[in-house]
Point group: C2
Chain length 407, copies 2
């Protein structure tokens, strides 16, 4: 399998390191708008670097992406950029006739007049609108194939297939006890994406009512995370699983809650109150007169690069899917989860826990596609495909998942 990986940031770099240990990969082109970053990722692979090459590529330049897919004879494009670039990459792959994987879906737009009650454009809507074209082309766009969305969706399908007869609620729950030494504030994941998902109106699915939105940070609950992380306050956040799971899994309610903590929520609210979460460019003095910049890019530029914080970070991160329903006439409640200890991921891969956990899942998916264990046509979520092969291969990668029975 020949892969074009677009984006050599934290997640992209971890992808190269995880794939380097697997034989299914014939060649991976590592492309980034910053060639030095792509080259550094490849150089770090040692003797495995022979299967990789580094290229400069602007992810927003659809034609350039299409040409690179064709020139490099790639079978699949793996998108490891931030969600702004989903649509040009998704369309370039469709035009080039390759498969496509991403870890986040096309962006939402709030409802014009009732943003905290009704959905406007939903996450992934732009991608699902092209489902028929993908199906007609006989190619697969596997969307939301990171850890959350991604593994969390595989868990939902696994619960529906093997653990429940009837599902009342599926709630993806994400929490961590990571701390970063020497920083007042150092998010462990892309602040651009974190702002996007936390400040957009959270989306909830209910059978009969469909998808609807609430105010940001709604429905706080304390969720008890496994493996020593313990209780963390979680709030509703806009996330792809809520849009994906109901398309393939029967459940009366689907939610996503993120364990942000009070301090982080307060900081996000301040960014919003000051307009610093905005992506529309503002005019500010530059070296030679006014320049136009996006405030959110400036926020990101002022914070440490989360991919570089692994050495100063301690603790664990947990992604998982809580499911409540019944089996054989009896009530059942389980939490299916995946925990990564930063100390382990740094030692084994030199990648911090959160980016490693995101990166391992698309590599597992690529391997399943290369062996034929997974296949499909059209725009599909991870829950559209059989969960068992995925969960077994993840364990084989040295990073097992867990099940806690809360019944």
């Amino acid at each position: 399998m020949r892969v074009l990986l677009v984006g050599a940031g934290g997640v992209g770099t971890a992808v190269t390191r995880i794939a380097a240990r697997r034989a299914f990969l014939a060649h991976m082109v590592v492309a980034d708008y910053d060639l030095a970053r792509a080259e550094a990722a490849v150089a770090a692979l040692g003797e495995q670097a022979a299967r990789y090459s580094a290229r400069r590529l602007d992810a927003s330049d659809r034609d350039a992406v299409r040409r690179m897919l064709l020139d490099e004879r790639c079978d699949v494009l793996l998108n490891a950029t931030d969600p702004r670039f989903v649509m040009p990459l998704f369309q370039a792959a469709l035009e080039a006739g390759t498969h496509y994987l991403d870890m986040a879906m096309s962006l939402s737009a709030p409802h014009g007049s009732r943003p905290y009650e009704e959905c406007g454009v939903k996450l992934g809507d732009e991608q699902f609108a092209l489902d028929r074209r993908w199906a007609e082309a006989g190619r697969l766009a596997l969307v939301g194939m990171g850890v959350e969305p991604g593994l969390s969706d595989v868990f939902a399908r696994y619960a529906a297939d093997e653990l429940f007869d009837d599902i009342e609620e599926i709630g993806v729950r994400d929490g961590a006890n990571l701390t970063v030494e020497g920083y007042d504030f150092a998010p462990s994941f892309s602040i651009w994406t974190t702002i996007e998902e936390c400040l957009n109106p959270p989306v909830v699915y209910e059978e009969g009512r469909g998808w609807f939105t609430t105010a940001p940070f709604s429905e706080p609950e304390v969720f008890d995370f496994p493996e020593g992380i313990g209780p963390v306050e979680c709030v509703n956040v806009e996330h792809e699983e809520v849009l994906l799971i109901p398309r393939w899994v029967d459940a009366r309610r689907v939610t996503f809650k993120y364990g942000l903590g009070d301090d982080f929520i307060a900081k996000l609210k301040t960014l919003h109150a000051l307009g610093l979460d905005a992506t529309a460019r503002v005019s500010v003095p530059g070296n030679d007169g006014p320049v136009q910049v996006s405030p959110r890019d400036v926020v990101a530029a002022c914070l440490p690069d989360p991919a570089g914080l692994g050495e100063r970070m301690t603790g664990k991160t947990c992604a998982g899917t809580w499911v409540k329903g019944s089996k054989d006439g009896k009530p059942r409640e389980v939490y299916l989860y995946h925990v990564v200890d930063n100390q382990w991921s740094m030692r084994e891969y030199g990648s911090q826990a959160v980016v490693w956990q995101t990166a391992v899942n698309p590599v597992v998916a690529l391997e399943l596609l290369s062996t034929g264990a997974w296949s499909g046509q059209g725009v599909l979520g991870p829950e559209a495909l059989p969960p068992r092969p995925f969960l077994d291969l993840l364990t084989e990668y040295g990073s097992p998942w867990g099940l806690r029975d809360d019944s």
Copy 2:
């Protein structure tokens, strides 16, 4: 008197409107890096515009400022820009042989190893270092001649001259009950300057110990402001009065406290934790590749221009000087203050209260210099000059001051 006004922002524009009603002004050149802004300020003056002209000028270009002072045969430069431009403007006036007034002093730099205990470079140090050159040139640099610093310093001198035999403490106290309709967060004064003064280590003066610093937002106290504003929580802030007053007025302690309120303090702390208060430029994506911008400029660009908020603003702002000591052997405590009601300043001048209150004081000072009631050579603060003529002329301008006896 011919004046070069540099800066046609909120304060500069209010200066033009206040001076337009006074006969002492022969001509005022209104200069701004944005010519349209200078032209708009002049055009708004109606038939009085004949005494004004608008020019484009980069305040950081010392040679250009000097040439404009000479070409326009100006007697004095009035600096109404933000404090970054104090030194080039101050030096240009010295080189051109004109007088100079500003409303904020040259910037401080924190102590390298003990920033919250000892002063590094103090506010105004760079200006006072050139005192002898100004004196030798026979010209006056009147520094800190806005409302705070400015009128607050005049109050301190007035208290020492006429109200007290012995002064224990002089505490400048600033508070307001202004609200801005339709905005989550809309500071009523330049956010650039507000960040600078609130996040730098606050400076305190004590007899015997001299100047020293504390942690930001230290020594909170509730101060009761007059004319219906009422109690507001105030905290120590770095401000010019603490550096100016002890040079000319005997007091055992001098402080400055600002009524920021909890919400504003929390927002400033968040800006600091995220590094968004920084002035050093960071690299972010621009329209044609990376550009370098100052995060603090981006914060300012995201917020509404405080000068334009007058129509949506209601309430009053109070600047004043609280003095504690004794007179004729008896303990005494007074608060000398100046309150501006936004409704009044908008109706009378079309300027919002905070910028109008800052602007009126340098115009009063210019008039005193033009009549010879005030004169001097070297670098002086407002408390170096006789307070009575100033306070009387301020009242004549239709904006009287008050005295509350707290004994």
